[in-house]
Symmetry: C2
Subunit: 346 residues, 2 copies
């Protein structure tokens, strides 16, 4: 597929394109009937590790809605498992069997060879690539080091992440050792995804925004930067998403300028106007409909989407997306309506 | 007690005072041995409703550390219970027995008379006042409408507050009805606390920061403003704390200017420099040591505290506090050390 044929690739490179592309974070998942059917007979981790099924789930939003990109179905914890932290799947989603408790646990982690140890993800990408057959770009992804460190230290998503945040102050040197190992793992993992065929990469820092201001720079942003630098020359657009970090948008813009990162995804706390003022001219901007707005009556939802589209009018690289991941039980006709609204906008 | 004798009251009014006052959000609670001893024989809700015990717990940080103000021990859900939503106490803290499900549930809620229906809180304040005997001011508090609405709609603290956020888009008119009832309840509740003897009031919006930018203004900030306006002339300093809303600090400053609100508490994502630039000259500023920094080795902790104190040097109204509530199992010697560090700073 040539870039000009893909509004997503063109927008991410801020090259001319006919219309605003759209895809949604967590677009393949629990709100879709095909996904639910697959999950009825397959547990979550088996689904992630079975390329045929993962590819089927990955393609459902393309076949259902005609989104402008497909993000591979996988779990954010895959790299941690390969580092030596077994993952289990419980009622509240995937979690670590035994969270890291001390420096000795950190020292035991290794930096996995992504092809030898997480080859099933590369197989998913290849299978998706074959099935998509050039219709839209395939998006690879990974969790950012701080977010993965939170999982590794807390075990599962927490409301406060008290254990991980405590380590920032109690044992910062040990935490840096962990962060470096994760950052190097994620860099290799994302490079391998490109080699397997990923045409876009998104780095997700879901929990960076909850760090205090100095800690954010030291433990979230610095390691995102390290990965973006490590991906330099990888040949595909990189999207950086740090949720809840709108207060740090100027610092994120500095990282973009320093690394050449192609795009920043913004959450819904940031106004499009501020995003354009701070990031415009430096990178593409992806966002930022609140996922909960998908529950609004369709006319209100479409009006909300148009307001965002208008706010980005004239911006050479706007990718329409949500402010964060789609939440079940989002009604499917609403998802379809907003995607149509975006794709007809000129 | 005269204001000049209280560094806290003087700082909140930006009047001359000898040293920076200090108190900590959730300073009376699970990390203290006296509290644990009381809780061993009394359940949480009984503790809140027994003035003798609640006063004992309220005073523990004054007697242990010599903090410059005592915040009454109570539960954020008290006003909701009085509105007609029974509270239960489970493994994960207090929650609503039956969260609101629809407009009919909202219509059933009433605006309680604070003295007749939450008189035990006023009794706690009177008992605390007697025992403190003028040593330091007594701080009353309430949760802000958005935070209380989250509890009323979700039942208990959630990682995503998906139900409450969904209502913003799905049924905004119904949500406004709920918000107005809560705002009027909280205004009366806080006024009654002043009548019972509270000398400072803090309004806590723990969850405002997770709203999308427009929704933040419409559902968090507007109702904080309404309460601050309703407290006009109440005669005691009002502290507004909206966690995670650093991105909206300029809008918060506008509310301060419009309402004469005496102080804003800032979380730890905001730099002292930005807080001074935006709020300085308009109100006192309270904050903002990360609660997790209390786990740092004492010399590092004290250095961190001094950095904050230095950053506010010359600001006529700085109250030292945490960026949010203290978390168990914070070590007591660390709490003592940082309070001493603040109180000796000149």
């Amino acid at each position: 597929m040539s870039d000009t044929a893909s509004p997503l690739l063109a927008a991410l490179r801020r090259e001319p394109h006919e219309r605003t592309p759209v895809w949604f974070m967590r677009q393949a998942g629990r709100y879709l009937p095909g996904y639910m059917k697959v999950r009825a007979k397959t547990d979550f981790l088996t689904l992630c590790k079975t390329p045929d099924l993962a590819a089927e789930v990955t393609l459902e939003p393309l076949d259902t809605f005609g989104v402008d990109g497909v993000i591979i179905f996988s779990d954010i914890l895959v790299p941690l498992e390969a580092m030596g932290l077994p993952v289990v799947f419980g009622d509240r989603g995937p979690s670590m069997e035994t969270p890291l408790a001390n420096r000795a646990d950190i020292d035991k982690l290794h930096i996995p060879d992504p092809v030898a140890e997480t080859g099933f993800v590369m197989d998913v990408i290849r299978e998706v690539k074959t099935r998509v057959a050039g219709r839209v770009p395939v998006i690879g992804f990974a969790g950012a080091p701080w977010t993965l460190a939170c999982y590794a230290l807390e075990g599962s998503p927490s409301r406060t992440f008290a254990t991980a945040k405590r380590m920032v102050y109690e044992a910062p040197a040990d935490l840096h050792v962990l962060m470096e190992k994760i950052a190097d793992t994620v860099t290799l993992y994302l490079r391998a995804q490109v080699e397997a065929g990923a045409q876009v990469l998104q780095l997700f820092d879901s929990w960076g925004g909850m760090l205090a201001h100095e800690a954010f720079h030291e433990f979230s942003l610095a390691y995102c930067r390290r990965i973006l630098e490590g991906l330099d020359g990888c040949g595909v657009p990189r999207i950086l998403f740090i949720k809840g970090a709108g207060i740090h948008l100027e610092s994120i813009a500095e990282v973009v300028k320093g690394t050449g990162c192609e795009a920043v995804a913004i959450d819904d706390t940031i106004t499009p106007e501020r995003a354009r003022a701070v990031l415009g001219g430096h990178c593409a901007i992806q966002g930022n409909l609140p996922p909960e707005a998908l529950f609004a009556p369709i006319p209100d939802l479409c009006a909300h989407a148009r307001k965002i589209l208008e706010a980005f009018r004239g911006e050479p690289g706007h990718v329409f997306n949500l402010g964060h991941g789609i939440t079940p039980p989002t009604p499917i006709p609403h998802v379809r309506a907003v995607i149509e609204e975006v794709q007809k906008f000129r």
